[in-house]
C-alpha cells in the first residue's frame, strides 16, 4: 500500500517536472516595453487583396492584428473587436489573421460561416506572420506607424489593447 502511494507521488513529481504554473511568478521578465525592431509582412485577404504592412501604415496610425483559429474564444474576441474597437478607432487598421485555414477559399468559408464578413481577414498562407509574431489563438498585435511593435500578447478582455490604442490617439 505504502509502496503504491509513494510511487504515485514520485511519478507525479517526475512527470510535472518544475512546472512554473505550480509556483507562478509576478516578476516582470520583459527585456523592453517596446520592441525596437521594425516589422513588415504581407497577407492575402479573403477578398483577394494583398495587404502590405508598410502600405497599410501609410494610411493608418496603427495596425492591429488578431490571430484567429475560428474557436469559441476567437469568436468572442472578434465580436468584441467588431463592436467595440473597429467603429471607435477609425484611424487604426484591424486585420484578423487566419493561421489555420491554409487557403483563401477555406478561410472565406469560415469567415462566412461565423458571420464576420464585415472584418478584414488576412490568410497566413505560409505561416510567416504567425512565426514572426509567434502568434497563436487570440494573440493580439499592435504595430505603430513607424513599424514598431507596441503589443504582442493574449487578447484577454481587450483592456490592454484599448490602453495601447488610446495611447496612440
Amino acid at each position: 500500500m505504502c509502496l503504491i502511494k509513494r510511487n504515485l507521488l514520485l511519478l507525479l513529481f517526475c512527470l510535472s517536472g518544475c512546472s512554473s504554473d505550480l509556483l507562478p511568478s509576478d516578476k516582470d521578465i520583459r527585456t523592453s516595453q517596446v520592441d525596437e525592431q521594425k516589422v513588415s509582412f504581407r497577407l492575402q485577404t479573403t477578398q483577394g487583396e494583398l495587404l502590405e504592412s508598410q502600405t497599410l501604415l501609410e494610411s493608418a496610425d496603427a495596425l492591429v492584428l488578431y490571430f484567429t483559429m475560428w474557436c469559441p474564444v476567437c469568436d468572442s474576441h472578434m465580436s468584441q473587436l467588431s463592436r467595440q474597437f473597429i467603429p471607435v478607432y477609425g484611424n487604426m487598421r484591424f486585420v484578423v489573421v487566419d493561421y489555420v485555414s491554409g487557403s483563401v477559399s477555406q478561410s472565406l468559408e469560415a469567415q462566412r460561416a461565423s458571420g464576420f464578413l464585415g472584418m478584414t481577414i488576412g490568410v497566413d498562407l505560409d505561416n510567416e506572420v504567425t512565426r514572426t509574431f509567434r502568434g497563436t489563438m487570440a494573440t493580439v498585435v499592435v504595430i505603430n506607424k513607424e513599424g514598431r511593435l507596441l503589443l504582442n500578447e493574449d487578447y484577454k478582455d481587450g483592456a490592454r489593447l484599448k490602453q495601447v490604442l488610446d495611447g496612440l490617439l
Binding site: 502511494k5 516582470d28 520583459r30 474557436c71 468559408e109 509567434r134
Partner: protein, 329 residues
C-alpha cells in the same frame, strides 16, 4: 497555396479546458455498493484500495458562441484529444477515503493549413471524501422508512496545475496546452440510492479557482497581471439499472445528464465576463463488475447536447471512455 506546419502545435487552450473540466467530473469507478454505477473515483464501503485506468477519446463538433448559437469548426478540420487517466483511491476508515487522478493528454489537431500532435501530463486532481452514512444503503426491498436513506458523500478536492498551460514555460502555442495553469479547490456533494435493480444519483460540485500572477503567455514575456478563472458549477443526475447473472456478476446500464458552467473570472481584480462558459451533456455507461467486485470494466459515451443554448462559449464534444478498475486490500 497550402502550408502544412508540423510544428509542435496542438489543441487550443479552450478545447482542452473543456475536456479537463468534464474529465474531472467523469472519472467513474465504483459506488457505495460497488458495481460501477457511481460517478466519481470512489471506493465502496467494503473496499480498501482501487487502481483505475481509463482512456478517453474526445472528438470535437463545433462550438457554442457568445449567444449560445452552434457554430461549425472550419471545413477540413479534425480535432481530437486522448487522455489516459491513472487513478488511485484509498480508504482510511469506514468514513474517510481519498483519490488521486493523473491524466496524460495527447492533442491531435488537423486543420486545412496546420496539423499537430502533442502530449504531456494534464492537471492532476485529488479528492478527500467523507461518507455520511454508517452502512451500505443499497436495499432490495423497502421494509421501513430507514431503508430509503441514501448514501451521502461530501468531498473536498484540489486540482493542481501540473499540465502545460498558456502561462507556463513549455507551451508555445495554444495547441501545446495540456492544463489550465490554475489551482482549483472543489467541494462535492453526492447522493446515491440503490433500490435494486435501480440506482439514482445526484451530484453537485462547486469549484473555486485561485488567483495567480502571470508574467508570460506561450513563452512570451508580458506585463505581469493577476488572473482568476470563473467559479465552476457542475450538476449531474443519473438513473441506472442492474442485471445479475447466476454467478452474481453484475451489468449496470446508467443514463445521466449534466450541466457544467463557469462564471466570470477576474483580470487584475476587474470582472472578466469573457471567461464564462456552459456545456450540457448526456451520457450512457455500461459497467460490468465481478461478483467479488474486484474488477469493474466500463464503457461510457458522453454526448454534448447539440441544440442552441445548450452551451455557451464552449466546444461541442463527445467523449468515449473505456475504463478498468481493480479493487484490492
Amino acid at each position: 497555396m497550402k502550408a502544412k506546419n508540423v510544428s509542435p502545435l496542438g489543441l487550443p487552450q479552450l478545447l482542452l479546458s473543456a475536456t479537463l473540466l468534464v474529465a474531472s467530473g467523469n472519472t467513474w469507478a465504483a459506488s457505495c455498493c460497488g458495481g460501477g454505477s457511481g460517478s466519481a473515483l470512489m471506493l465502496s464501503k467494503s473496499a480498501q484500495q482501487l487502481i483505475d485506468l481509463s482512456l478517453d477519446v474526445e472528438t470535437y463538433h463545433g462550438f457554442w458562441n457568445d449567444a449560445g448559437a452552434r457554430q461549425q469548426d472550419p471545413q477540413g478540420s479534425s480535432l481530437a484529444q486522448y487522455r489516459l487517466n491513472l487513478g488511485y483511491a484509498y480508504r482510511f476508515n469506514a468514513h474517510w477515503q481519498a483519490s488521486l487522478v493523473m491524466p496524460w493528454v495527447v492533442n491531435d489537431t488537423e486543420y486545412s493549413g496546420v496539423s499537430s500532435t502533442n502530449n504531456g501530463l494534464g492537471d492532476v486532481s485529488a479528492t478527500l471524501w467523507y461518507e455520511v452514512f454508517e452502512n451500505i444503503t443499497c436495499v432490495w426491498k423497502v421494509n421501513e422508512l430507514a431503508d430509503l436513506k441514501p448514501s451521502i458523500y461530501l468531498g473536498l478536492g484540489v486540482v493542481l496545475p501540473t499540465g502545460e498551460s498558456a502561462y507556463g514555460d513549455e507551451a508555445r502555442t495554444s495547441f501545446d496546452v495540456t492544463g489550465r495553469g490554475f489551482y482549483r479547490v472543489d467541494t462535492h456533494l453526492m447522493l446515491e440510492k440503490t433500490l435494486y435493480p435501480w440506482t439514482v444519483t445526484l451530484q453537485g460540485s462547486y469549484g473555486r479557482y485561485l488567483e495567480r500572477p502571470i508574467n508570460q503567455e506561450y513563452g512570451k514575456a508580458v506585463a505581469p497581471y493577476d488572473k482568476r478563472l470563473g467559479d465552476r458549477r457542475f450538476l449531474s443526475t443519473s438513473l441506472g439499472y442492474t442485471w445479475f447473472d447466476e454467478d452474481a456478476n453484475t451489468l449496470t446500464l446508467t443514463g445521466a445528464v449534466a450541466d457544467l458552467r463557469e462564471g466570470s473570472g477576474t483580470l487584475n481584480g476587474a470582472t472578466d465576463p469573457l471567461a464564462q462558459m456552459k456545456k450540457q451533456s448526456a451520457s450512457a455507461t455500461l459497467a460490468y463488475a465481478t461478483a467479488s467486485q474486484d474488477w469493474i470494466i466500463k464503457g461510457i459515451v458522453n454526448h454534448a447536447l447539440r441544440d442552441d443554448h445548450r452551451g455557451k462559449r464552449f466546444p461541442i464534444t463527445d467523449v468515449f471512455t473505456l475504463e478498468v478498475s481493480y479493487v484490492f486490500d
